[in-house]
């Protein structure tokens, strides 16, 4: 039977060959994650340095002693008792744990992983219960099981108080907190955090919450998993994903300026429903500090109504990339220069230079890319077909004579774009299979994207 089954399965899928885009796609996904992490951590660093951001930071991190692992045994310092008591429920993202401090009681800790299948639990403040947007389990404020497929209460974690500091043992589990700290709260009441037009608050500031790397669980159901928090200063740009805590047929994430201008918008459609984790990225290049609002819209699958929740944010330009710093020697994935001279002469895989002053082209930049990508362009030996030229001509000095279109200095990456591996300083070269004949993309460390159109000819200043 075994050989027979193997043959059967071979026959079912043996014909199937993966597409050539598999590796490109995998690499692109990896690069996107890396960039998100970098931007996200950049945003957090910026928050610390800015007064307004500092205030927001302190809302999550008590000043005394800070937070973090205190040793290598798994004890994690969460904050002071007073601070935790003031906030009552705190989500500690790094150890995926809720710390709850009821009035007049000591803090206790609950794992944010559901005892059912380990899916992430959220806290629904309007209702006062923990719930799983994936499977619908519900637990009361003490972690007692209320509803859904789980067969136990939430998992507790040991808590100790050293001086004034509360610490949680992230590596250990204890019986659900309820049994340790007292009777369950009354039945959950109030609006739920699941779908339905009756219980979704439209346009209520702060209702849609944000959890960055530090996390915050008191304003769900909508969870921005990467990016800024209410009142935060965003690094430039913020990559913002949203997890929808209830079924929806469409997710819209929109960045709106104070004058109502839509600065950027992304949407994701769901064929049937998005019971969890649909996401959209906002990529927005901030030119100057400004206030803005993130609108998160979810279209209710039943009513078709698009509900918006907004989060005010302050947008500041990111740390910045030195103008023109893309000019010079670039390097390949292994760190080897892509333009150099040896005993055989000049080798060029990729090079970026500025236009010559004596032709009046100094405001333009030229990117020469050996073609196909990764080959070694030897100039006259290979002929012009062996290289392509992409031009950044923001002032249009080449538009008349050479018909070079203007660059898009605040571009968005096409969906199939991936990092070529070429880089220089703060810059990476990204290419898109669908667009490589027309343009290449330069992605800066601060997340801004420039689209450099291709010139039909290799342009040289005589």
């Amino acid at each position: 039977m075994t050989d027979g089954v193997k043959r059967l399965l071979d026959r079912a899928v043996g014909w199937y060959e993966p597409s050539d885009a598999l590796l490109v796609g995998a690499r692109r996904r990896m690069e996107r994650r890396r960039i998100r992490r970098r931007v996200s951590s950049g945003a957090l660093a910026l928050v610390v340095s800015v007064l307004g951001g500092l205030l927001a930071w302190q809302a999550f991190h008590p000043p005394a002693g800070g937070s973090g692992f205190v040793d290598d045994t798994g004890w994690y310092r969460v904050g002071t008792v007073d601070d935790l008591r003031a906030r009552r429920i705190v989500y500690v993202g790094e150890i995926e744990t809720f710390v709850v401090t009821p009035p007049g009681e000591e803090p206790y800790a609950l794992s944010a992983a559901s005892p059912h299948l380990g899916e992430r639990l959220l806290f629904c403040r309007p209702a006062g219960w923990f719930f799983s947007p994936a499977h619908g389990e519900m637990f009361d404020i003490r972690g007692n099981y209320e509803l859904g497929p789980s067969d136990s209460g939430m998992i507790g974690r040991p808590v100790r108080i050293i001086g004034d500091e509360v610490e949680v043992d992230a590596g250990s589990e204890v019986a659900p907190a309820a049994s340790a700290v007292g009777p369950a709260d009354p039945e959950p009441s109030g609006p739920t955090c699941f779908a339905g037009t009756d219980n979704v608050v439209e346009d209520e500031p702060g209702f849609a919450g944000i959890s960055g790397p530090l996390g915050r669980a008191d304003q769900f159901p909508i969870d921005i998993v990467e990016g800024a928090r209410p009142g935060d200063t965003l690094g430039n740009p913020g990559f913002i994903g949203a997890e929808v805590g209830f079924p929806a047929t469409e997710l819209v994430v929109r960045l709106v300026g104070v004058d109502g201008t839509v600065l950027d918008e992304r949407s994701t459609s769901c064929d049937t429903a998005c019971p969890g984790y649909a996401y959209a990225d906002l990529i927005f290049t901030v030119e100057a500090p400004q206030r803005a609002t993130i609108l998160i819209g979810t279209r209710d699958g039943d009513s078709g109504v698009l509900w918006f929740h907004h989060i005010p944010v302050t947008l500041d330009p990111g740390p910045g990339v030195e103008p023109g710093s893309f000019v010079g020697t670039w390097y390949d994935e292994q760190g080897n220069p892509t333009y150099f001279k040896d005993e055989r002469g000049w080798h060029l895989e990729l090079h970026v230079i500025n236009g010559a002053e004596h032709c009046g082209w100094q405001s333009a930049s030229f990117l020469t890319l050996a073609w196909p990508i990764g080959s070694d362009f030897r100039g006259g030996e290979d002929g012009e077909d062996a290289a392509r030229s992409y031009v950044r001509d923001p002032e249009g000095v080449l538009a008349g004579d050479f018909g070079v279109p203007p660059p898009d200095l605040a571009a968005s990456l096409p969906g199939d774009a991936s990092h070529s591996g070429y880089h220089r300083g703060d810059w990476q070269l990204w290419v898109s299979p669908s667009d490589i004949d027309e343009a290449v993309y330069l992605v800066a460390a601060n997340g801004s994207v420039e689209r450099w159109p291709r010139s039909g000819q290799l342009i040289a200043c005589a």
Binding site: V5, R11, V13, L23, R29, P275
Partner: protein, 171 residues
């Protein structure tokens, strides 16, 4: 940790230090395994791509593991479970129906088999793919799935029985 596995023959061949070599050795088998798991070509490439990207990201560590291939498949299995959880209950039904049987295709027995596999409960499908198609032992598959070998055998038995019944009933 996926350190307890003996290397399969294919795996031994794929043990290059270079990710590109690993990728070249695994790509076909991975997407086909994902096709068996998901029952859908687009989903299988999506799943394979995501699993590969995770492995690629950790390649220096993964390359030092006893079984990079085991890690790759564990990643794919976990991602697929996560995907199914996201799709939730409604999707379970959809997954079973993903491989559509139009009139043209019904003559093709490979579609019958794919449909039969896609209709299996997910846990049985995992066991079937790991043991029958990828060649892991029940013990190795159990380690990958986080269950006892005896449970793997039980799932396999049910999977084979369902598969046989389902194919006997197909036109």
């Amino acid at each position: 940790m996926v350190t307890e596995f003996a290397e399969t023959e294919v795996e031994a061949e794929s043990r290059g230090e270079d990710f590109e070599e690993f990728f070249a050795a695994e790509r076909g088998r991975l997407v086909r395994a994902c096709l068996l798991l998901t029952g859908d070509v687009a989903d299988s490439e999506d799943l394979a791509q995501e699993a590969l990207s995770r492995v690629m990201e950790r390649w220096p560590d993964v390359a030092r593991m006893d079984s990079p291939t085991g890690y790759l498949y564990r990643t794919a299995l976990n991602l697929n479970r996560k995907r199914l959880r996201r799709l939730a209950v409604a999707a379970r039904r959809l997954v079973a129906d993903r491989v559509e049987r139009d009139d043209m295709a019904s003559a093709d027995d490979r579609m019958d088999v794919l449909h039969a596999v896609a209709s299996l409960p997910f846990a049985q499908r995992e066991a079937l793919v790991l043991v029958e198609w990828l060649g892991y032992s029940a013990e190795e598959a159990g380690s990958l799935l986080g269950i006892e070998a005896v449970s793997v055998r039980a799932r396999l038995h049910r999977a084979r029985t369902s598969l046989r019944r389902s194919l006997e009933e197909s036109p």
